[in-house]
C-alpha cells in the first residue's frame, strides 16, 4: 500500500480526496471557510486532472439543486459548503434524502448568522441534522480525508442510498496545516469502486418519473423507508470503516474512545475539540484524575445504543456542545446522548456545557478545570449545574 506523508490543511485534504474520487459532476458556490475546497478543485478541473463537469452555480440552493439533478441523471456528484450556504440548501437537503440520492458533501462547520461570523461552530450542520443526511465529524485533516473517501461507499451502499456530509471545523481544521497520509489514486479508486446508479434519469429507453406527489396513501411509507435506510446506514458505516482499516491501516467506527476504560470522568464531544480534550485528559491523569474522552464521529445516524453502552460505567460525564439548540434544554449532542443513556438506568451525572460558539477558542486548561470541578463536586456531594456555558462573558 502506497502512503505519502504530506502537509495539508483540512480544505486541501478534502480537495485531494475529491480529486481522487473524481466525481462525474461537482456543483458548488463559494462560502468561507469552505471556498478553498472548490477553489483548489477548480484548478484540478482546469488542468484536466479530473473528468468532472464543474457547475459553478449562482447560489448554494442552485448548487444543491444542480447536484440533485446530476445525481438523478446518473452521475456521482459532490459539493462543498459552510454555514449560510448550508442553510440556503436546507430545503434541498431534505429533498436529496427523500429522493434517496447518495450525494456527497464536504461541509466546513461555521457559525450561523446573526450576528454574522465566519468562524467555527456546529450550528450549521446541526440545522440539517433531521434532513436525512448521514453526518460524519472529523477531528483533523487526516480524518477529513479518510472520511470523505469512506463517504462514497457508505452513501452508495445498496442498503443505504442516502446523501452524506463529512464535516471539518472551520479554520481550526480547514485552514490549519498538519501532516497526513495520502493514499495512491489507484488504491482510492479501487476502494470506492465505480458508481452504478439503479435507475438513471438519462436512460430514456426506460423512462422514470422522479419527485412524484404523494398523498396520504403513500407519503408515510416513503418516509418510513427513508428512516429504515438511515438505520441501515449504521451497519454500512461499520462495514466500510473496517474495510478501510484493513486496506489503509486506520479503522473507523461510530466513535473513538480515549483512555475511557477506567475513567471516573469523561468528556464527550464532536470534531476538533477532541484533540484539545485528549491533552486535557492526559494532564488530568498526571494529576491523578482518571479522565477519559469519547469522540462522537457519526452524528447521523445517531449511534445511541453504542454510545450508551460505551459510557455505561463512567459515573461523571460532561457533554461539550459546539452549538446551542436554543431549546432551553442544552445542546443537541447532550439531548440525544441523555436520551440514549436513559435506558441504562445507571447512576451517572451527565452535564452539558455549550462552548466555542462563533469560533471562541476552547483551551486545554478550561477543559481540565471543567472536568476536575465535576469530579470534586461529585466527591464532595455538591450539586453542579446540569446545563451551562463555557468561556462566555455572562
Amino acid at each position: 500500500m502506497g502512503k505519502t506523508r504530506v502537509a495539508r490543511t483540512g480544505n486541501e485534504a478534502m480537495a485531494e480526496a475529491i480529486r481522487q474520487i473524481n466525481p462525474d459532476v461537482v456543483a458548488a458556490y463559494p462560502i468561507t471557510p469552505a471556498t478553498e475546497v472548490m477553489q483548489i478543485f477548480a484548478t484540478y478541473v482546469a488542468d484536466g486532472l479530473v473528468d468532472t463537469e464543474l457547475v459553478p452555480t449562482e447560489s448554494e440552493h442552485s448548487a444543491m439543486s444542480a447536484a440533485i439533478g446530476a445525481q438523478v441523471a446518473g452521475a456521482r456528484t459532490m459539493t462543498a459548503t459552510s454555514s449560510q450556504g448550508l442553510a440556503l440548501m436546507y430545503e434541498m437537503l431534505y429533498i436529496a434524502a427523500g429522493l434517496r440520492l447518495p450525494l456527497i458533501m464536504a461541509e466546513v462547520n461555521r457559525a450561523l448568522s446573526a450576528p454574522i461570523n465566519i468562524h467555527c461552530d456546529h450550528g450549521d450542520t446541526m440545522g440539517g441534522r433531521d434532513a436525512g443526511w448521514i453526518q460524519i465529524f472529523s477531528e483533523n485533516s487526516q480524518e477529513a480525508y479518510d472520511n470523505l473517501i469512506q463517504a462514497v461507499r457508505i452513501a452508495e451502499h445498496s442498503d443505504v442510498l442516502l446523501p452524506i456530509m463529512v464535516t471539518t471545523d472551520g479554520f481550526i481544521i480547514s485552514h490549519a496545516m498538519e501532516d497526513i497520509d495520502i493514499y495512491s489514486d489507484g488504491e482510492v479508486r479501487d476502494f470506492i469502486g465505480t458508481y452504478k446508479p439503479l435507475q438513471p434519469a438519462l436512460d430514456y429507453k426506460k423512462p422514470i418519473t422522479v419527485g412524484s406527489i404523494d398523498f396520504v396513501d403513500y407519503y408515510f411509507e416513503h418516509r418510513r423507508a427513508l428512516a429504515q435506510a438511515m438505520s441501515n446506514a449504521k451497519n454500512a458505516i461499520l462495514e466500510v470503516g473496517r474495510e478501510f482499516g484493513s486496506k489503509f491501516g486506520q479503522e473507523y467506527g461510530f466513535y473513538e474512545a480515549y483512555k475511557l476504560d477506567d475513567a471516573e470522568v469523561a468528556m464527550v464531544c464532536l470534531g476538533s475539540t477532541a484533540g484539545t480534550g485528549k491533552d486535557a485528559v492526559d494532564n488530568l491523569r498526571k494529576r491523578g484524575i482518571k479522565a477519559g474522552l469519547l469522540k462522537v464521529r457519526v452524528f447521523r445516524p445517531f449511534p445511541a445504543e453504542e454510545l450508551a453502552a460505551r459510557l455505561k460505567d463512567v459515573p461523571q460525564i460532561c457533554v461539550l456542545d459546539r452549538s446551542d439548540a436554543l431549546a432551553a434544554t442544552g445542546g443537541p449532542l447532550y439531548a440525544e446522548l441523555l436520551a440514549a443513556m436513559f435506558e441504562d438506568r445507571a447512576d451517572h451525572t451527565v452535564i452539558n456545557r455549550i462552548y466555542g460558539l462563533g469560533g471562541r477558542d476552547i483551551k486545554v486548561g478550561e477543559i481540565e478545570e471543567l472536568l476536575s470541578s465535576q469530579v470534586s463536586a461529585a466527591a464532595g456531594g455538591k450539586s453542579i449545574d446540569r446545563i451551562g456555558y463555557l468561556g462566555v462573558r455572562e
Binding site: P56, I68, V72, A73, V210, S212, I213, F215
Partner: protein, 307 residues
C-alpha cells in the same frame, strides 16, 4: 418544420388520464414542445400545476424521463442533468446519442421564485431549453398574483375591493429579461399557434446552448372563461398584441405573426371574469392604461424587429 401528419405519428410524451383541469393548456404546451423533438428528451419541472397533476404516485402521465425536485430550481436542476450528460458522455459511460434537456415551469416558478435559478442556468450556457408556461398567476395554490399577472387582473391576493381593484402593477416582461441574457435563442408563442410553436422549438433544438421559450398558457379557472375557449384566448392574446409572437435569434428580433387587424385589448379582456370589474365605468381608465401599454410595447417590438 414537421407537418401535422408527422407529429401525429410520434409517441405522446405526456399521456392522457392526468389530473389537469378540463381546458387546461399546460399539457398542450408540453406535448407540442416535446413532440417537436426528433431526439430523446429528458424533462425537468418546477413544482406547480403541471407537476402535481401528472405525477400522482403511483401513477405517472410521463412517457419520457421526468424529474421534479422543488419549486424554485427547475433551471438549476436541469442544468445539473445536462452537466451529468456531458460528463458521462465525455467519459464514455453512456452512449453519445443526442438528448434534448427541457425544463418546464409556470410563471410563479419562472418569473418569481425560480428567476435566479433560471438566470444562472442561462448564463452558464447549458445546452438546455427552459419553457415557461405562463398562465399569469399562482394557479396551483389558488390563483395568487405573480409578477406575470397583467395589470388590472383580479386574483386572490389582488382582489377587487372597495378601494383597490385588481393588480396595480404592469406585468414583468420576462421574455425581454431573457433577451438581455444574450443567449442564442429566445421566443414567445402560444399553443394555439402550433405551427409557430413547432417551428420555434425545432429550430431551438437544432442549436447549441441555452434557449428560452415563453408560452402563454391560458388557465380557465384563474382567468374565468368557458373551458372550450382556451385556444381562442391564445388567439385573442396574439391578435390584440397583448402577447406578440416573436423570436430573438442571436440578438436579432423577428416577428413571427402579425395580426391582419390589431384588435382592441378589450376583446382579450372581456371574456375573462378576472377582468370583469374593469368594465365598470369607474375603471375605464385602467383599460385605457392597459391598451396604452400594449401599444407602447407593440410599437417598440416592431422597431426592434427592424434593427
Amino acid at each position: 418544420m414537421s407537418n401535422l401528419k408527422q407529429l401525429a405519428t410520434r409517441q405522446a410524451p405526456l399521456c392522457g388520464g392526468h389530473r389537469a383541469c378540463a381546458g387546461c393548456s399546460a399539457p398542450d404546451v408540453v406535448r407540442q414542445v416535446l413532440m417537436a423533438s426528433a431526439d430523446p428528451v429528458v424533462v425537468g419541472s418546477a413544482t406547480g400545476c403541471l407537476e402535481v397533476s401528472t405525477t400522482i404516485f403511483p401513477y405517472s402521465a410521463w412517457n419520457v424521463p421526468f424529474v421534479h425536485s422543488a419549486f424554485e430550481n427547475a433551471g438549476a436542476s436541469v442544468s445539473g442533468m445536462e452537466a451529468a450528460y456531458k460528463s458521462l458522455k465525455k467519459q464514455g459511460k453512456i452512449g453519445d446519442e443526442k438528448i434534448n434537456f427541457v425544463a418546464f415551469g409556470g410563471d410563479g416558478g419562472t418569473y418569481d421564485i425560480g428567476f435566479q435559478s433560471l438566470s444562472g442556468a442561462m448564463e452558464r450556457g447549458h445546452n438546455m431549453m427552459y419553457v415557461c408556461y405562463d398562465n399569469g398567476a399562482y394557479m396551483n395554490t389558488g390563483i395568487q398574483r405573480s409578477s406575470a399577472t397583467p395589470r388590472g387582473a383580479m386574483t386572490t391576493t389582488s382582489p377587487v375591493g372597495k378601494v383597490i381593484q385588481g393588480k396595480q402593477q404592469q406585468r414583468k416582461d420576462l421574455t425581454a429579461c431573457m433577451v438581455a441574457h444574450e443567449i442564442p435563442y429566445v421566443a414567445q408563442t402560444t399553443p394555439a399557434h402550433w405551427r409557430d410553436l413547432n417551428a420555434k422549438v425545432e429550430y431551438a433544438f437544432s442549436i447549441e446552448g441555452p434557449k428560452f421559450m415563453n408560452v402563454l398558457a391560458p388557465c380557465r379557472l384563474g382567468w374565468g372563461y368557458p373551458m372550450e375557449l382556451t385556444m381562442d384566448m391564445c388567439r385573442l392574446a396574439a391578435d390584440t398584441c397583448f402577447w406578440p409572437l416573436y423570436e430573438v435569434v442571436e440578438g436579432q428580433y423577428k416577428l413571427t405573426y402579425t395580426p391582419k387587424e390589431k384588435k382592441p385589448v378589450e376583446d382579450f379582456l372581456k371574456p375573462q371574469t378576472r377582468f370583469r370589474h374593469l368594465f365598470r365605468p369607474e375603471n375605464e381608465h385602467v383599460i385605457a392604461e392597459i391598451q396604452q401599454e400594449v401599444d407602447r410595447k407593440w410599437e417598440r417590438l416592431q422597431k426592434l424587429c427592424t434593427l
